[in-house]
């Protein structure tokens, strides 16, 4: 799975959590909570969905690493590579 695939999955799941927001216009360096107006419940739903889609463990302590779309892609790519090797 490459970065583009991960990004697509993340965008899909953000779309499920915040269906009325235009993800095409989302700044990939913006704080997701601010940019999409999501709260901790939404964020947890997002983490649950990503966990199911990618099969990677995302400890609570790592939540800050998912705070922007770019950082989340980087973090999850690293996680997937570790789990492969």
């Amino acid at each position: 799975m490459n970065e583009a695939d991960i990004r697509t999955i993340l965008q899909e799941e953000l779309g499920n959590v915040a269906p009325e927001m235009d993800l095409q216009k989302l700044d990939s360096t913006a704080d997701l909570r601010e940019a999409l107006d999501i709260d901790s419940m939404d964020f947890l739903n997002f983490v649950v969905a990503v966990h199911h889609r990618l099969g990677v463990d995302i400890p609570e302590l790592d939540y800050p690493k998912l705070i922007t779309l770019d950082r989340a892609v980087t973090y999850l790519k690293g996680k997937l590579e570790v789990s492969k090797s």
Partner: protein, 404 residues
């Protein structure tokens, strides 16, 4: 044999239009299954069945508008009751006359696998013309929009009012939102306005606030969540909800309804969860019997409820029977919320965001996590002293999160 009837989804609802059947004769249903979608003035609602049994007969055709109380289907239950006794969903008494939640309508479930939406049995469409709700048809006619050119986002692809509205406003590029979610924010605003104006007109509110050290809650959550997969993790909001429900069971002056000059304490604790809607809106659907619900189940239900409510998929049983409401501002909020009571309820408990503060513990100052809880209560029913004991009890319960 029991009859499944058109439920009342609020005091001002006289009739509803059946826009989709999710079951057909012969299907097994159990209590709580969503069996139909009904469109009301303010949007479509998923209707649940209150009986377990087999659908014997469908009595109302698609797109028929029928009064509240009209039998919609006959259900053969396991235990046959006396013939002629209708045990359909008893229309709830006209309690919350203007629940904002009614401004919601059904939207297609998200494609992700984590949802708990029950399996849906599709029935063939009416055939012929495009399937559309009456409200959608009216709006389309008014604006000379051809329904055949619209893709429906309703159940089974039916065209609903929001689809037509979306078509009408789809042009301007300045529109911030991308697609309709099933929420009619204008209708929701009107419903909030009506309920809150009634509240401030009729309810003599009094307010109390109480700061509570919730460090033990945070530590317990961190410890508990560390070994759990994401879908079993807990949030502070669940601890808050459970503590309010447990306290509300004991303090009966804050859990019930004030109607016609009289207070009636409720026998169960149905907790309204205030949920902010992106773009400006608010709904407070109910979770039932929260005082008796294990914390893990409560958390799962809150997650599901928040996601469904924000996507515009709320269920009939969640709409109008909260006995008390909780409003949590969450981590991006401010320190305190002084709420407005949802009539005919008599209390609302607010939680501000958790903040780090210097705090005195055993004679020494240290950093602690502190939350400001507030109570808005109805002075026709209770006084400040009772309210203070109620709020203090919630604070005490939060000192032992492992017991919640």
């Amino acid at each position: 044999m029991v009859e499944f009837r058109m439920p009342s989804l609020g005091a001002d609802m006289e009739a509803g239009t059946l826009v989709e059947w999710l079951v057909k004769p012969g299907d097994q249903v159990k209590r709580g299954d969503v069996v139909a979608v009904v469109e009301t003035q303010k949007g479509a609602i998923e209707i649940e069945v209150f009986e377990t049994g087999r659908i014997e007969q469908i009595l109302v055709d698609l797109n028929s508008k029928v009064p509240v109380g009209t039998p919609l289907a006959r259900i053969r239950t396991g235990l046959e009751r006396k013939a002629g006794v209708a045990v359909g969903p008893v229309p709830p008494p006209p309690r919350v006359a203007e629940t904002p939640a009614r401004a919601l309508r059904a939207a297609p479930p998200p494609s992700q696998p984590a949802t708990t939406t029950p399996a849906i049995v599709r029935v063939p469409g009416a055939g012929g013309r495009a399937r559309a709700s009456p409200a959608a048809r009216r709006l389309a006619e008014m604006h000379s929009v051809d329904l055949a050119t619209i893709t429906g986002s309703g159940p089974s692809g039916a065209i609903i009012r929001a689809d037509v509205e979306y078509r009408l406003v789809a042009a301007p590029a300045s529109v911030e939102t991308k697609r309709p979610t099933g929420l009619n924010l204008d209708a929701m605003r009107a419903a909030i306005a009506a309920a809150m104006a009634r509240s401030k007109r009729e309810i003599p509110h009094y307010y109390l606030e109480h700061q509570v050290d919730v460090t033990s809650c945070e530590q317990w959550l961190t410890r508990t969540n560390a070994s759990r997969p994401p879908d079993e993790r807990l949030l502070m909001a669940a601890l808050a909800a459970k503590s309010v429900a447990l306290a509300a069971r004991r303090f009966t002056l804050f859990n019930g309804f004030y109607n016609d000059g009289k207070y009636q304490a409720a026998s169960a604790v149905h907790l309204g969860i205030a949920i902010a809607i992106r773009g400006g809106g608010l709904a407070a659907p109910a979770l039932h019997d929260v005082d008796q619900m294990p914390l893990d189940e409560l958390m799962g239900r809150m997650r599901d409820l928040v996601q469904r409510t924000r996507a515009g998929r709320i269920r009939s049983s969640e709409m109008s029977d909260s006995t008390i409401t909780v409003s949590s501002l969450g981590e991006r909020g401010v320190e305190a919320v002084h709420g407005v009571i949802y009539p005919p309820q008599v209390a609302l408990v607010g939680f501000g965001k958790v903040v780090a503060r210097p705090w005195l513990v055993d004679g020494a100052i240290g950093p602690r996590s502190v939350v400001t809880m507030t109570l808005a209560a109805d002075h026709r029913v209770s006084d400040g002293h009772a309210g203070a004991l109620f709020l203090a009890e919630i604070g005490k319960l939060l000192q032992e999160p492992e017991k919640l």
